[in-house]
Symmetry: none
Subunit: 209 residues, 2 copies
Amino acid sequence: MFNLHCSMGRTKLVMKKIEDPTSRQQFYSKRKDTILKKSNELAVLCDVDVGLLMFSPAGEVTSYSSKESLEDVMLLAMNKAGELNKRSPENPNEQPLTEILTQSKHEGKMVEKIAIVESHEEKLNKLKESLSEAQQKIRYYEPQVENINSVQEADAYEKFIRSAMELIQLSKAKLLGGQEFFQRNENVAVSFVNTEDMAAAGTSRGRMY
Amino acid sequence: MFNLHCSMGRTKLVMKKIEDPTSRQQFYSKRKDTILKKSNELAVLCDVDVGLLMFSPAGEVTSYSSKESLEDVMLLAMNKAGELNKRSPENPNEQPLTEILTQSKHEGKMVEKIAIVESHEEKLNKLKESLSEAQQKIRYYEPQVENINSVQEADAYEKFIRSAMELIQLSKAKLLGGQEFFQRNENVAVSFVNTEDMAAAGTSRGRMY
DNA sequence: CCGTCTATTTATAATTC
DNA sequence: TGAATTATAAATAGACG
């Protein structure tokens, strides 16, 4: 139900607490630096305020802020939040623009993500279906000999495969000029009797029997 | 001396404010998501507390915290040491941070959603691969006559299909007591010569000529 | 404006020294 | 053990639609 993996490098990691303390601390140190670096890049390149707090597995605090102190950034956010609380009492209908912007953006994104998840679920199911269908079909063409228990069953498989063979033979005949309908190959001879079977074979695609 | 550049991709960027507002906003959006994701990874993999606050160029606040609220993380840090207490806020907690708390929850859910999307994408890709493989195989068995342009091509298909037929014939022969290897059917006769072709057909999958 | 693609750079897990 | 190396995955800038 959740993201199982993350990260680059030789292999992917499971999104789950690293149990070995040494590895965990090592991991933390590296990743912490990267996040710090990227936070700083964001703050500088976009000229925005960023505040960051991280606790190491040992409890050591690392903080970053684009302003003098992290508190300044927090206060900014608090003020922002406070602004959102202000409503003009005389005009209850009049919502502060900032509130509309921020809230709707959040909601919008949530809805968007949920939509993506749903669409993926749909795609997944369709794909699974297609795959299962395709694999079923392949079972007809590549039957497991040990699973065939009767001549009738074998005949059913054979019929199916024969339609494919007929298609090819037909194709070859056409390519050779359509003159010799009965083809002879180095090591295989196939003869056809009527075209009904061919037609039937041609339309038998998609559904099995 | 210092890091004058940053980033991956086609070129390096100068560590300086992006002047074009559109580019800046675009840059912010992408990078913000990455930092959120990585912060979450750090929190989960290392089982530590992380708090993050980012302002967009437009002033929109994005927050993340591994705890219920960013406030919790902040308080943790404040209790930890005076490191962050350079300035004691003149209006301490005059405004409860309910808004931030709410936003944190939103972001937390966002992270979760993003994770789901990613795991789905992974599954999707795997399925697509399997399906494409299966369909490729089926193309050998159900060639589109109109797409076969040479006898050589037709021969390749034929060999492939023949191996399936041989399997069936073999199976039938066994079921019938292994006496008649050459089967005769109502309207089609197929004879086999050697098994080399089968092997060849079996390995020729993937690419046609 | 927003997604997609691709070449390139970064980040980094595993491994080596 | 831990710093350096290597192989691999992720991030992402720029281009295109």
